[in-house]
């Protein structure tokens, strides 16, 4: 084994990059060393080439910077796709629940998990029999649909991009970015329980904007916040009560006219609000 071969082996071991990019760099270095060795000895060519560890570090840093940009773009696209599919899933479950325009707001989780992983976990792709107590509190995704007669106004609103905001209930950024309307559909993450077995999922319902007189005087920043009330529901024959501490949106306001619950492994269900299921 020549000095050039040893150097290339050392460089290959030091490189963290894999695949085509790695093969390309090794081939380029091999050609460079072969050219340099043709005018001098192998050892001199290798010594002029520098440390393999330094070269690998420089190259890996360059590749990492490039991949970070790609990963960020891919994460944003994935998150928006997941949010849009969740909204379409909710709308597709009921013919009456039509939505001409879709907007999605995605909130980064406090723990800075990868966005796609977090949204997949919290948007219904999780087994229902998993104990939610062992899962992180949902703070990552809120999606909403617009009413057909508010089509243009919703499209003009800007929330189709992710915002690094946590925690969700305290900010109500969703509501602040919506155009004023007396009533609209909202979707949020919520938790229900029947005393011992909590269920966590995506909930949808009608919501109103608060009047200023109803806003809290202690927290004026919450004025005009969107409020969604989650009523108890019967799922699988069990009567579930909403857990007021785990609502993605404030637990107050008017009763929802329609309501949806999405769990993994089961189709989305939208329940008409009736007196028999309200508390």
């Amino acid at each position: 084994m020549t000095a050039v071969d040893r150097y290339l082996q050392e460089l290959g071991n030091a490189l963290c990059s894999r695949g085509r990019i790695r093969r390309r760099l090794l081939a380029e270095c091999q050609a460079h060393l072969a050219d340099a060795a043709a005018t001098s000895s192998d050892e001199e060519a290798v010594s002029r080439f520098g440390s393999a560890a330094d070269l690998a570090r420089s190259f890996d840093t360059e590749i990492a910077a490039r991949r970070a940009v790609r990963a960020t773009v891919a994460s944003i696209v994935g998150v928006v796709a997941v949010g849009a599919s969740t909204v379409s899933l909710l709308n597709g479950a009921d013919r009456l629940a039509t939505a001409e325009a879709v907007w999605v707001v995605v909130f980064f989780p406090r723990r800075r998990r990868p966005l796609s992983q977090c949204c997949l976990r919290h948007c219904g792709l999780r087994p229902c029999d998993t104990d939610p107590q062992h899962l992180p509190t949902p703070r990552c995704c809120v999606a909403g649909t617009s009413r057909p007669w508010h089509f243009r106004r919703r499209l003009c609103s800007p929330p189709a991009l992710p915002f690094p905001v946590t925690p969700l209930p305290g900010r109500c950024l969703l509501a602040q970015r919506r155009p004023p309307s007396p009533r609209s559909s909202s979707v949020g993450l919520a938790r229900w329980h029947d005393g011992s077995n909590p269920i966590q999922g995506v909930a949808a319902g009608q919501s109103r904007r608060c009047k200023k007189s109803q806003a809290s005087k202690r927290r004026p920043a919450r004025r005009n916040c969107c409020q969604l009330r989650l009523a108890p529901r019967c799922v699988g024959g069990n009567r579930l009560r909403p857990d007021p501490t785990h609502h993605a949106l404030p637990h107050s306001g008017p009763e929802p006219e329609r309501f949806a619950l999405v769990c993994a492994g089961s189709p989305s269900r939208i329940f008409p609000a009736s007196r028999s299921t309200r508390s």
């Binding site: 390309r24 380029e28 050609a31 460079h32 072969a34 002029r48 070269l55 420089s58 190259f59 840093t61």
Partner: protein, 107 residues
Amino acid sequence: MKAEFLRGHLEGLLLAVLTDEPGHGYLLSQRLAARSGGELAVPEDSLYPALQRLERQGLVTSSWTSADGRRRRVYRLAAAGRRQASASARDWKRFSVAVDQVLGGLA
């Protein structure tokens, strides 16, 4: 010359030596050393990452060629790279004049 002096100017120097004709990595380092009278020896641990960076920015293009039984990656200057090379030359002239006004009197 110290390698630190090249930092920040390596991309511009590579674009400058590519304006004449395309070349592979070894040829570019040789061309750079020759045109600088042997003063500028590009460290190889900076050469190939810099070429990759230029390619990512769309300033150069590259392709594999075979000659003398060897495969080499040949880099060519793109149109944007030619404009960037001219801009780098103008910036360097301004910078060198400014530095010379400060340091020139001490020599």
